[in-house]
């Protein structure tokens, strides 16, 4: 169906190329023959193009308009005193419209819808690619500081150095753009990734970071988008706890509220500044939630009564299918 429609389009534009052929072919009988053959083909193409355009017009025009045009044509034909052939054309048009009009109209609509869908698909792909590029952004500051800490531990406390290095590997593996294994990310996986990050930061910040992770076992299989919890945890440390000389607590929790899975990251750090530039991280989370769930998910930043910051992501509650592809 769609093929036919595009064929019509090609035929509309095709006649231009033989025209170029003609411009060069002025001398010699052979060239002239080719030229006349070319112009014949050109005329043929033009007729086909006009026919398709007429057919398209016939398919989409309203009956009222068709009647009006027919009437005008009939009057014109009457003046020219040749009403019979024109009457036949009108009758043929009506028959074509009845028989093929509906189908043709459907084809045109389908064609337009496909084009729109393709644009949307393209936009989504571009968005996803951009998201992945952003996901892969691992703070160089974090990486270099962690490597420097491991370097020191190798000399003073090799078993701890090894443990920290393993945490770093675990973190890097999951922080890299996610491999497409066909499964949707679960809350459990995201929490594991954050735990690796928190282990590293606890070694570095020592008593200044007290992480508390309380995720009900039953919620770990719930679907949860990748790298969002990570962003919230990194923010809580970087903007909430690290700038606070005595440090503080960081709590990750999850619950079901009104059929939504609500995952929160709570800290008792220095708190949110109203004039702080909205970071790439939070803007990225918002954008991805919008792209993934339309209006059904949200990111809420609130100020707990005891101070600090609480960031909550709410997404529709869904259990990840065992191993079926997404």
């Amino acid at each position: 169906m769609i093929n036919q429609a595009t064929e019509g389009n090609t035929l509309n534009t095709d006649p231009r190329s033989p025209g170029i052929d003609n411009a060069g072919g002025q001398s010699g009988p052979a060239t002239q023959r080719r030229a006349s053959k070319g112009s014949l083909r050109e005329i043929g193409d033009a007729i086909v193009a006009v026919w398709w355009r007429f057919f398209d017009w016939l398919a989409v025009v309203s009956w009222k308009k068709l009647a009006l045009v027919s009437l005008l044509g009939l009057i014109l034909a009457g003046i020219l005193k040749h009403p019979v052939p024109f009457l036949m054309v009108i009758i043929a048009s009506i028959i074509i419209k009845v028989v093929a009009g509906g189908k043709r109209r459907a084809e045109l609509t389908a064609d337009e819808a496909t084009k729109r869908a393709e644009t949307e698909q393209l936009e989504r792909t571009v968005l996803e690619a951009r998201m992945e590029a952003l996901q892969a952004q691992i703070e160089p500051h974090f990486l270099f500081n962690t490597l420097a800490s491991i370097d020191q531990l190798i000399q003073t406390d090799p078993p701890r150095a090894s443990k920290m290095q393993q945490s770093l590997i675990r973190y890097l593996r999951t922080a890299m753009p996610q491999m497409r294994d066909g499964k949707r990310p679960t809350l459990g996986q995201q929490v594991d990734l954050c735990s690796a990050f928190l282990e590293i930061m606890s070694v570095r910040m020592e008593g200044r970071l007290q992480p508390v992770v309380t995720i009900p076992e039953g919620l770990k299989s719930a679907v949860f988008p990748s790298m969002m919890l990570q962003t919230l945890v990194e923010n809580a440390i970087k903007h909430g706890l690290e700038p606070k000389p005595e440090g503080g607590r960081l709590e990750i929790g999850a619950e079901i509220v009104d059929g939504l899975l609500a995952v929160h990251v709570l800290d008792n750090g220095i708190g949110f500044m109203p004039k702080a530039e909205a970071g790439v991280g939070l803007a990225n989370v918002r954008e991805r939630l919008k792209a993934l769930y339309k209006g059904r998910a949200e990111l809420i930043i609130s100020v707990p009564p005891a101070g600090g910051t609480c960031a909550t992501i709410k997404v529709p509650y869904e259990i990840a299918p065992a191993a079926s592809p997404d």
Partner: protein, 257 residues
Amino acid sequence: MHPLPAPTAVIADDERLMREQIADRLKEAWPELSIVGEAGNGSEAVAMVRSLEPNIAFLDISMPGMDGIQAAQALAGQVHVVFVTAHDQYAISAFEQGAVDYLLKPADPERVALTCQRLRARLEQAPNPMNELLAQLSKRLGAGGTNPSEYMRWIQASVGATIRMIPTSDILFFRAEDKYTRVQTRGFEALIRKPIKELIDELDPDEFWQIHRSTVVRVDAVDQVSRDFRGRQIVHLKGSEEKLEVSRTFNHLFKQM
């Protein structure tokens, strides 16, 4: 060269492992140098330098509270400063132009030895106040993103029982209502106590326009502007049925191009 009394130093870094590392490396490269104190943040470092009067201070750049640059500014001319950093590309390029030395984490023994050599040569001179370099550094690092914006990017408002931080990009408009100002987003409304008159000074004028004594609208949320039968301009919003009147004073905002 006449013999000097044993040189002293303090080390400031918010991570103990990093302080240990610098201390270990210094011990290898410069056994006579005695580390007289370790600080976990900038203000501790400043207090320590003032009370112990060491010759040298090793300052990590990113520390909580007061950072390394601010600490160096507070201590200008009182101590020889060596900055320590894991990854501050701006800082590194600035150090390379300046007179002061810097160390990259993890500290490379050979590089530490070079730093110690430079410090030995410089100890006899008075510490460089580094005013220009520090000003340049704090400006460069500030531009890195930790600097607060001039305008509000978040509105702190109560929604039900909780206090929420609403990004300004989510807000459709603000409207004065009795004693409160209503904050309207696509999904909900919240109330704040700050009057429109005060609010308008703290909002980015490129992001928000005042269109009425009691209304401020986010420019990007405006769908179209029509006129009613009395000729008044009416703002229609994207994602909301609510229509906002533009008062005569602000008519010029929506002039045709």
